[in-house]
């Protein structure tokens, strides 16, 4: 029971705190926090919002998983952003060019995306393992370079097609798409939501029940102890980053295969950074990340609903930032509180029998 409280209390406190903060900001700018809250809750029942939240949540979930895999080894993969965009672009190009039977087509696209993501992360991995280049720098740089590479790939004289004022890759035929579950006017749930959930399950299993997961955590916790225990640190760095990149490669697919069908200039960006925040919010735990991803998606969609009623939607950014910060602060406060309680408990226990110190002298 205490355990449950320790886990659930902090996020609850944090959300309340963040909400209060935003309420103050809203009052200052002359808006009603009550309206804001009502609109935010109310949006779930409107239009396709509920489904959109789950869909976006799945995307954030994948991004956060990618980040979390690196984090397990204390590797900070800032490059999820570049990895996912490049992978989505490459997958769209390949998917649009191929003519294959249904399921196979989809699988090929998914594999291409994972491979490209892994490859892009692999550059950082090799530089880290063999040249000692910090993955923080290399992935930041690779994000930029990926943007250049994508621009090059979708130039109309490379693989791009002019679509009015936009540039797009060739659309993927229905055989390559990942069918979703239509909910009529409430929207269509991406089929890849289930793939994301399955990956989460796989991540959990890998981490807790396999040698690989053990070695990953061990290297993250203490590289020296892991080495002494026969873990090949260099290999782990490479595998962890490459695996992280492969998962990152999938981040763009739910939208690509479930809705957009092609990669365009205006394809969304920024999921990599959201992934970092969500992974941290979910404490790198597969279940925690899922909650974090949904919360994040909910807040994101709230921006639309708030804008619709004229409440400044910057509130959502402030809310996201303060939720991330206050969740962790709340965990710390609860931890300290329980520590103190424990100490009081021990003290109380000990006061009762009052052990008499033995007097020995020689």
């Amino acid at each position: 029971m205490t355990r449950l409280r320790t886990i659930l209390l902090p996020p609850a406190l944090a959300i309340v705190f963040a909400a209060l903060l935003c309420a103050v900001a809203l009052l200052i700018s002359g808006d009603s926090p009550i309206t804001a809250l009502r609109v935010m809750i109310g949006q779930i029942g409107e239009g396709t919002t509920a489904i959109d939240i789950v869909n976006s949540g799945a995307i954030y979930y994948l991004a956060a998983l990618a980040v979390a895999i690196g984090f397990q080894m204390k590797l900070f993969n800032i490059g999820v952003e570049g990895q996912f965009r490049l992978a989505a672009c490459a997958a769209a190009i390949v998917g649009g060019a191929l003519v294959l039977p249904p399921v196979l087509h989809t699988i090929v696209i998914i594999v291409v995306a994972a491979l490209v993501g892994a490859l892009w992360a692999g550059i950082a991995a090799v530089l880290k393992a063999y040249r000692g280049v910090s993955e923080v720098i290399s992935t930041i740089m690779l994000n930029f370079i990926a943007t250049g590479l994508i621009a090059f790939l979708i130039r109309p004289d490379s693989f791009g097609v002019l679509q009015g004022n936009n540039i797009s890759t060739n659309p993927i035929e229905p055989s390559g798409q990942f069918p979703g579950i239509p909910f009529g006017s409430s929207g269509t749930l991406f089929g890849m939501v289930f793939l994301a959930a399955a990956l989460g399950l796989g991540y959990w299993f890998l981490l807790n029940h396999t040698r690989f997961g053990f070695e990953l955590k061990a290297s993250g916790e203490s590289p020296t102890a892991a080495t002494a225990g026969g873990v090949n640190a260099r290999r782990m760095v490479i595998i962890a980053l490459v695996l992280s990149g492969a998962v990152a490669g999938l981040v763009g697919l739910p939208e690509l295969l479930g809705r957009d069908v092609a990669y365009t200039l205006t394809s969304p960006q920024g999921y990599g950074f959201t992934g970092i925040a969500v992974a941290l919010l979910g404490r790198n735990h597969p279940f925690g990340i899922a909650l974090g991803a949904l919360l994040w998606a909910f807040l994101d969609k709230s921006a639309l609903a708030l804008d619709n009623v004229g409440v400044p939607r910057e509130i959502v950014l402030i809310m996201q930032g303060s939720v991330v910060l206050s969740v962790v602060v709340a965990y710390e406060i609860v931890r300290r509180y329980e520590l103190a309680a424990e100490q009081r408990r021990v003290a109380a226990q000990l006061r009762e029998p009052a052990p008499a110190p033995v007097e020995v002298s020689s």
Binding site: I137, P312, E314, L325, V328
Partner: protein
């Protein structure tokens, strides 16, 4: 007791220092090699923009925010606190600078930017030092908050004046000035078209003309940071918190206070970097999104520089320079830089050989050959890649030079008072 004996080697002199040249000679050597390579490249490829005064000036302009953000990172990380929130603090700085600058002029902007950045730093300190929040979590959160708060405040305060929620009203910048008569003399020398001499004159000329007080302040902050961090009691204590906070605490250092100070200064410097973005020539004030990831680049430059002010300067200069070249002269100049990079790789390979480190030497040589191959095969670097030449070059230099980086020992480690052993 029997003794099997192998002759004994002479005992090592206790505490012999690592052999090697003084740091400043190494630095001077690096600068000399850099200029040499550039001159050679300019001469052989005819890309005059590589060493023109305008390019240096552009480099200075572009490196300024990066340098300041990097200095911010340096202060914070030297005290053991990772600061991935530099971007957020920088955003706060751009806003604060515009807000103060709009009302009271450029110096107020400098102060306003610094204060706003420092507020971000304070938040980071509260989270990481007082509440032991994971440093990266806090940094990410602060970046989000920075974006949210500035948007909110802009709508609230700038919109009524500028009629644009994403932009401040016009903020007056500093007047630029040149160091005379040096600047004119160098300009004249540059125009004489003499190999080497004109190139050096071009590079130096850019450093002494078109200056603003902010440039002077930023460059001065490099030696000042070095002096304060490495030569004063405050700096010693601050660094000790990043190396071994428990030891520092056991010697009566108030670790909390120093970490707080460091992170607040860090935020202030990042904020100053933001102010540079608002005040630099070419800016009219605050513009949403104008930091464009420069905080992260600053962090990278600091790591590139091995957590030292000189190295950081080198990292941001490299970045600013290549960015300046690509923006001013485009794909052809970047193409010429490829040539320069392959020469550099060759030099690095020779250095490794001299140290009898065969693997890195081979690697450098290989990398050099690949780059040279690319140079020969393509006539011009496509614009898509030329735009990211600074990032490519940074990555390449790191991969080839493969420095052994040494972060502060206790960086990122949670620290709780009285829990050490």
């Amino acid at each position: 007791m029997t003794t099997t004996s192998t002759p004994l080697v002479a005992p090592p002199a206790a505490g012999q220092t690592r052999r090697g040249l003084p740091r400043w000679i190494v630095a001077a050597g690096i600068v000399a090699v850099g200029i040499g390579v550039l001159t050679l490249t300019t001469t052989l490829t005819g890309q005059v923009q590589l060493t023109s005064r305008g390019t240096t000036q552009a480099a200075v302009l572009l490196l300024l925010p990066i340098l300041l953000a990097g200095l911010g990172g340096l202060w914070s990380e030297r005290s053991g606190i990772i600061n991935i929130g530099l971007e957020g603090m920088m955003i706060l700085g751009t806003w604060g600078a515009a807000w103060a600058g709009y009302q009271w002029g450029p110096w107020a902007a400098v102060i306003g930017g610094t204060i706003f950045g420092a507020l971000g730093g304070l938040l980071h300190a509260i989270a990481t030092v007082t509440f032991n929040v994971n440093h990266i979590v806090s940094g990410v959160a602060i970046t989000l908050l920075g974006m949210g708060v500035t948007k909110y405040l802009s709508t609230l305060l700038f919109f009524p004046v500028s009629h644009n929620p994403r932009q401040s009203p016009h903020v007056e910048g500093f007047q630029t000035f040149s160091v005379q008569p040096l600047a004119d003399w160098l300009a004249q020398l540059e125009s004489q078209q003499r190999v080497l001499l004109s190139d050096i004159a071009g590079i130096l000329g850019g450093l002494v003309s078109g200056l603003t007080p902010l440039v002077i302040v930023a460059f001065a902050l490099v030696p000042i940071s070095y002096f304060v961090l490495w030569r004063t009691r405050f700096g010693l204590r601050l660094r000790s918190c990043g190396e071994n906070p428990v030891a520092a605490e056991s010697l009566g250092v108030n670790v909390f206070r120093y970490k707080y100070a460091a992170v607040i200064i860090s935020g202030g410097l990042a904020g100053l970097g933001g102010a540079a973005l608002t005040l630099n020539p070419g800016q009219l004030g605050y513009l949403e999104g104008q930091t464009g990831g420069r905080g992260y680049i600053g962090l990278a430059a600091m790591i590139f520089g091995n957590w030292r002010p000189g190295g950081l300067l080198a990292g941001s200069a490299l970045f600013g320079y290549v960015d300046g070249v690509q923006l001013r002269a485009g794909g052809e100049a970047v193409h010429a830089l490829l040539y320069g990079t392959s020469i550099l790789a060759l030099i690095i390979a020779v250095l490794w050989v001299a140290r009898r480190r065969w693997m890195p030497a081979l690697f450098a040589l290989g990398a050099g050959a690949v780059v040279y191959g690319v140079y020969m095969v393509i006539p011009e670097v496509p614009r898509e890649f030329a735009s990211y030449a600074p990032q490519l070059v940074t990555l390449l230099v790191l991969a080839v030079a493969s420095q052994r980086l040494r972060p502060p020992a206790a960086i990122g480690v949670e620290y709780r008072r009285g829990e050490g052993d």
